[in-house]
């Protein structure tokens, strides 16, 4: 981060909670229960909590990585690895962020196509989303943070709809607890990682926080909120579906919305999906913003113009994905890459930063 940053470009520390939470929760929540239950069955909700705890550890690591000064990961890469290797890491980071954008956007549009408008061509919603994204990115990071705030606050009432499936729930489905092997828990945790990824945005947003050090508690709150919501969705899914039935349901959370009865609308999930636009949007803005930061600092292209290139890239990639199998494939790839990023790259950087600091202190 440039040292000459102006105070009015910064955001309050509490906003990091919304940034982290909204970057974690995306489309995955609409269908993740069956993938976890495939490994851990009725103990899947424990896996959700375990993974949440693991991500608290990652937050802790990230704050240690970022602890000195007000640098983001791009500066640190350059500082630690030199210009060439640092740039390689930075470009890889940008690709990873872009992949995140594409997966989220394309998967959500697949939901829209599967549920609401089967005839809708992909480029229309992608185009609309990206236009809006440009509008937000043009406003700078403060606008992005604002979108994250509203992306959490506006759809928050959807939590109350979780009570409707309770009428048809069988909570004995959760028993017997802890009836799976350690290996099944581990595989479940690996699978669950995809739903939790997104806290990496902290590595880029850190220098934009006022009193970055005091923001740590809020970052943990963000992950905690995610864990609570995921656990709730998981418990309800386990109780609402029988095990075999859950494995059949691609969008289990949306299907559970089908039992919500309101006098003015027959199919509640249409409202749910519509409101989910608010949940998905901050995701796209954040990852695109992150990618454009890399462009600015590494490739030295003005952010304003670089965003255009990114939008064109994401647009093309999204339109090229045409069916459910490809969307699934995209998700699997992202899941694998995400696992590597979190279980290898972040611990690696963490250790590296510790060693680097120690060496530096000695000299």
């Amino acid at each position: 981060m440039e040292q000459s940053k102006r105070n009015d470009l910064l955001i309050s520390p509490f906003l990091i909670m919304f940034i982290i939470h909204s970057n974690q929760v995306g489309v995955g929540i609409l269908g993740f229960p069956r993938y976890i239950a495939a490994y851990a069955g009725n103990d899947a909700w424990i896996v959700v909590i375990i993974t949440g705890v693991v991500f608290h550890v990652f937050i802790w690591m990230m704050y240690r990585i970022l602890s000195d000064g007000s640098y983001d990961i791009i500066d640190l890469h350059n500082k630690w690895f030199g210009k060439w290797i640092g740039s390689f890491f930075n470009i890889a980071l940008m690709m990873y962020l872009l992949l995140g954008t594409i997966v989220i956007l394309r998967t959500f549009i697949e939901v829209i196509q599967a549920w609401m408008f089967p005839e809708l061509a992909t480029w229309i919603p992608v185009g609309m989303y990206l236009l809006l994204t440009y509008y937000v990115l043009a406003g700078g990071f403060r606008t992005v943070a604002g979108i994250c705030f509203f992306g959490v606050i506006i759809p928050v009432w959807l939590v109350f709809t979780a009570t409707a499936p309770l009428k048809f729930s069988t909570f004995s489905n959760l028993f017997p607890m802890m009836d799976h092997t350690l290996q099944e828990f581990a595989l479940g945790t690996r699978q669950m990682t995809l739903s939790y990824v997104g806290i990496d945005i902290l590595l880029l947003a850190y220098p934009f926080l006022k009193n970055p050090k005091s923001s740590r508690m809020w970052a943990h709150m963000g992950v905690l909120l995610t864990t609570l919501i995921y656990t709730m969705v998981m418990v309800i899914s386990l109780a609402f579906y029988s095990e075999g039935q859950l494995q059949q349901s691609i969008w289990s959370t949306l299907i559970a919305w089908k039992v919500v009865e309101l006098p003015f609308v027959e199919r509640f999930e249409y409202i749910g999906i519509t409101f989910w636009c608010f949940v998905v949007f901050p995701n796209i803005c954040l990852t695109m913003w992150g990618a454009s930061r890399v462009g600015k600092k590494v490739l030295h292209i003005k952010q304003k113009y670089f965003v255009f290139i990114l939008i064109a890239f994401v647009f093309t990639a999204c339109v090229m994905v045409t069916n459910r199998d490809q969307v699934d494939y995209l998700n699997t790839i992202t899941s694998i890459i995400g696992t590597y990023v979190y279980y290898f790259y972040i611990p690696f950087i963490f250790l590296y930063s510790m060693i680097w600091r120690r060496v530096k202190r000695r000299t």
Binding site: F168, G244, Q245, R267
Partner: protein, 353 residues
């Protein structure tokens, strides 16, 4: 510039997808399925078109095809597309239910437009006949049957059921679905009991009396009215009967035994005898206890003989046994000893003695 782009957007953003106008789209509430010729399915529907001038038009159509969706193409002389967003009841004739119904249900479970609160029912006789006979129901046969079943679940003695729960039990291990049985009687439709399924095939029936007992034992439930015959020939009417049920399975994997304990709570609202003394109340409670237990034992025996598990005993065993082995359970299920304990508590008995 601003207005220009607004106009451009208005033009660009219309007509992306096919429109469906509520006044023109026929809305489907009910479908009845019968066996057709040559392995086809015969579907009968009752359609409602909502006219702008407030008149609801109801007409029934029938067609034959190999698949449920295929029926739609066969329905000639019908405005399209048909909306199934308000689909409320799916009826199957008994002989079709005996052959299996999951293929048809699958087409509704798969379709995002269909709800999960659709009721599934079996018809004694022809499902098509029941639908075509519009009777004098003003709101149409579909909404009428929906209300009939809904009210029997909420205020009556029918256990909870719908397409979601059918699917739940179809795919779940150690449980089997139940659905209500309907019958056309001259000018009305009656619920006559409960159809028992083995996975997707109907294999047996319970009558109304048994259906009530089933609902009490199946899971905690609150029922409507029940007329109880006492040993001395008098009758008592019980209302607001609430059951609290606990299943206990011991040694699920090795040597299983099941205990079902039921606590009932009810109010007496009518009694044909002289005086409702403490002793008579006790008598009524004891009679009900005996009756629930006798019916329960009989039903469990029947289910074990049929090899079906509508009480979800297998699922209870799973939830109470570590590393539960379904394979062994299925082998043992017909011989598992099941004991039923019933305890009845009479609460209020009205405002006079």
């Amino acid at each position: 510039m601003k207005y220009c782009s607004l106009i451009v957007l208005c033009i660009l953003l219309t007509g992306c997808v096919a429109e469906e106008i509520i006044d023109e789209v026929p809305i489907l509430f009910i479908v009845g399925y019968d066996n057709g010729k040559e392995g086809k399915i015969k579907g009968t529907i009752s359609l409602q078109t909502f006219d702008p001038n407030q008149e609801v038009e109801t007409r029934s159509f029938e067609a034959e095809a190999y698949t449920s969706k295929g029926l739609r193409n066969q329905l000639s002389g019908l405005p399209k597309p048909i909306s199934i967003g308000k689909m409320a009841v799916l009826l199957f004739s008994e002989d079709m239910a005996e052959e299996g119904i999951i293929d048809v249900l699958d087409s509704f479970l798969r379709d995002p437009a269909a709800g999960r609160l659709i009721y599934v029912g079996v018809v004694e006789g022809s499902a098509g006949e029941l639908i075509k006979n519009e009777f004098q129901y003003l709101q149409g046969i579909g909404p009428f049957l929906q209300n009939l079943i809904k009210q029997s679940i909420e205020y009556g003695n029918m256990p909870q059921n719908n397409i979601h729960l059918f699917d739940y039990k179809y795919y779940g291990d150690g449980m089997d679905p139940v659905v209500p049985i309907l019958k056309k009687e001259k000018t009305e439709v009656k619920i006559t009991g409960l159809a028992l399924f083995e996975d997707e095939k109907m294999v047996g029936k319970l009558n109304l009396d048994e259906m009530f007992m089933f609902a009490l034992i199946n899971k905690s439930f609150s029922a409507g009215l029940y007329e109880l015959e006492l040993p001395d020939g008098e009758y008592a009417n019980l209302q607001k009967i609430k059951s609290k049920v606990k299943y206990k399975v011991k040694n699920g994997n090795t040597n299983p035994s099941v205990n079902i304990s039921i606590k009932l709570n009810g109010n007496i609202v009518e009694y044909t005898g002289d005086k409702l003394s403490k002793e008579t109340k006790q008598e009524i409670a004891k009679t009900l206890e005996r009756k629930v237990k006798a019916h329960g034992d009989e039903m469990v025996k029947k289910f074990q003989e049929l090899g079906i598990d509508p009480f979800s005993i297998g699922d209870h065993a799973r939830s109470q046994t570590r590393n539960f082995d379904f394979k062994k359970w299925y082998d043992r299920y017909p011989d598992v000893p099941v004991t039923i304990d019933v305890k009845v508590n009479i609460g209020e008995s009205g405002i006079i003695d």
